[in-house]
């Protein structure tokens, strides 16, 4: 049985033997060690049987020494199928082309579906997607990853609060959530504004409430800045309910900008090392099979002294299956290594900038730097240590609920 299964791959032939007692021919074959199988006697002088393709020569030898007549009735197995295919080159070509066509079509976007947003925004989103190259007929592997597109889209379409992008086969689904401008809450609870930091009041803009401090006053953290208690001027409040209670409370609103001070310590080395990209770059494209890369476009390495590599991989698809083949885009950028020695003045300037950046991160974008002063500088093992005194203008007010305030008192 074993020889029979393997014979399909090596090929086998059904031979027809004519003559007197044809079964004796097969008997002779098996005696010579030629395996034969599926022997059938179709009539008294005809016998059919299968032999391996590789045994044909031996069979012919046996025939020559006898007076049987041999004809080949049927050729079966893999080598014959291949041979038959090879004769039909057009068919083979068509088969290859159709596979290629499916492969190409599987990697093209056919549909972009946008859901969850009104039609005017949908139009806008569509336009934006078109700009990114996402439209029916685009190659999927030239696109950015869905999360990148999502982020980009939210940045470029300010009306969108959130966008979910999903690539399902050849369809791009985009689900958006529109940003609804929520009106500011009307009924705020009564509150005061208090200081969060010590500082000197610079500007005051109070839209609701009674100012408790004046410009150029020095305040400590927790000091009352704007009071929400309006016992004296009742008529200025619209929402107020006239009751017997003497206190009329509102939610104080306003902006209190004060000058504040910070002491910052920074250390700056004289010598710095850093790498920058020059902007020269080359892009190469590969097809990747497992760990083997076949270049498609961009041959030869650019002659940069230092290189930064960035690779992006996109798997190819066949219908809905991901193939083990990937389309790889590799960008090689030129890198420059800079070693800079700074003078003391430059180091101090860099230190001040660094301190500003650090402080700006802490205080938020609205803080404004007024002046800075070097309090102390020491040079020590190639580094400059600075103690800086920074003057900043920022909003120092924070709301505090009145009831809570009273309780705490």
């Amino acid at each position: 049985m074993k020889q029979k299964q393997a014979s399909w791959f090596t090929g086998y032939v059904t031979v027809e033997i004519r003559g007197d007692a044809p079964e004796q021919f097969f008997q002779e074959c098996s005696r010579q060690g030629i395996p034969v199988w599926d022997i059938k006697k179709t009539s008294s002088d005809i016998c059919q049987g299968n032999v391996k393709l590789t045994d044909i020569k031996a069979i012919k030898q046996v025939i020559r020494n006898s007076n049987y007549k041999l004809t080949f009735a049927k050729r079966s197995g893999y080598p014959f199928i291949i041979r038959r295919f090879r004769r039909k080159k057009e068919l083979l070509l068509a088969l290859a082309m159709s596979v290629l066509l499916v492969l190409i079509l599987s990697n093209i976007i056919w549909k972009v579906e946008i859901a969850g947003v009104p039609s005017d925004i949908e139009e806008k989103v569509n336009q934006q997607l078109e700009d990114y190259g996402i439209h029916p007929g685009a190659w999927t592997f030239t696109l950015d990853s869905p999360s990148d597109i999502q982020q980009q889209l939210i940045e470029d379409v300010p009306e969108l609060l959130w966008a979910g992008i999903q690539q399902n086969g050849t369809t791009f689904y985009l689900e958006g959530v529109e940003k609804l401008l929520v009106e500011e809450e009307e009924n705020l609870e009564p509150r005061n504004l208090v200081a969060t930091k010590k500082g000197v009041i610079k500007y005051m803009y109070v839209s609701k409430g009674v100012p408790a401090v004046e410009v150029n006053d020095y305040v400590q953290p927790g000091d009352l800045l704007v009071s929400g208690n309006l016992n004296e001027e009742i008529e200025s409040n619209e929402q107020e309910e006239e009751e017997d209670s003497q206190q009329t409370l509102v939610a104080a609103q306003g902006e209190i900008t004060a000058t504040t001070w910070y002491e910052v310590a920074v250390t700056v080395p004289f010598e710095t090392d850093y790498e920058t990209l020059t902007g020269n770059r080359e892009t190469k494209y590969y097809l990747e099979f497992g760990s083997v890369r076949i270049p498609i476009w961009g041959f030869g390495d650019p002659e940069y002294e230092l290189k930064a590599y960035e690779t992006e991989k996109k798997p190819l698809k066949f219908f809905n299956w991901t193939l083990p083949i990937s389309f790889v885009e590799e960008t090689i950028s030129e890198k420059v290594h800079t070693n800079m020695e700074r003078t003391k003045d430059e180091a101090i300037a860099a230190g001040i900038q660094q301190a500003k950046n650090e402080l700006a991160l802490e205080l938020g974008p609205e803080a404004e730097f007024i002046s800075e002063k070097v309090l102390q500088e020491t040079t020590e093992s190639g580094k400059v240590k600075l103690n800086l005194y920074m003057t900043v203008e920022e909003d120092i007010s924070t709301p505090q609920l009145i009831s809570e305030n009273q309780m705490s008192r």
């Binding site: 599926d38 059938k40 006697k41």
Partner: protein, 94 residues
């Protein structure tokens, strides 16, 4: 003389060493699976074959298998696998 001794020793070997009789006595071993298959080992050659009958030579005579739709599924020297509808297996003294 030696041949005769040989023939007397063999049954003795089978009895006392429990050796398989087909190996020692060079008898054919015939395995029949239902009516479907007959598997014959250790035969001495095919005498006649048609789609209703198969005759094999052995040391002691012939084995004749009759039935219908006979196909020799496999044939190597001293081994034959017959497929078909088996009706009868008979031993004919040579």
């Amino acid at each position: 003389m030696l041949k005769r001794l040989n023939q007397r020793i063999r049954p003795w070997l089978i009895r006392y060493f429990a050796l398989p009789s087909d190996v020692i006595l060079e008898l054919p071993r015939i395995t029949i699976i239902g009516q479907l298959h007959v598997y014959i080992e250790n035969h001495q050659g095919m005498e006649a074959y048609s789609d209703t009958e198969l005759t094999l030579r052995t040391k002691q005579g012939f084995i004749r298998i009759t039935g219908s739709d006979f196909v020799l599924k496999m044939m190597v020297s001293e081994e034959i696998l017959l497929e078909g509808t088996i009706k009868e297996v008979s031993f004919i003294a040579g």
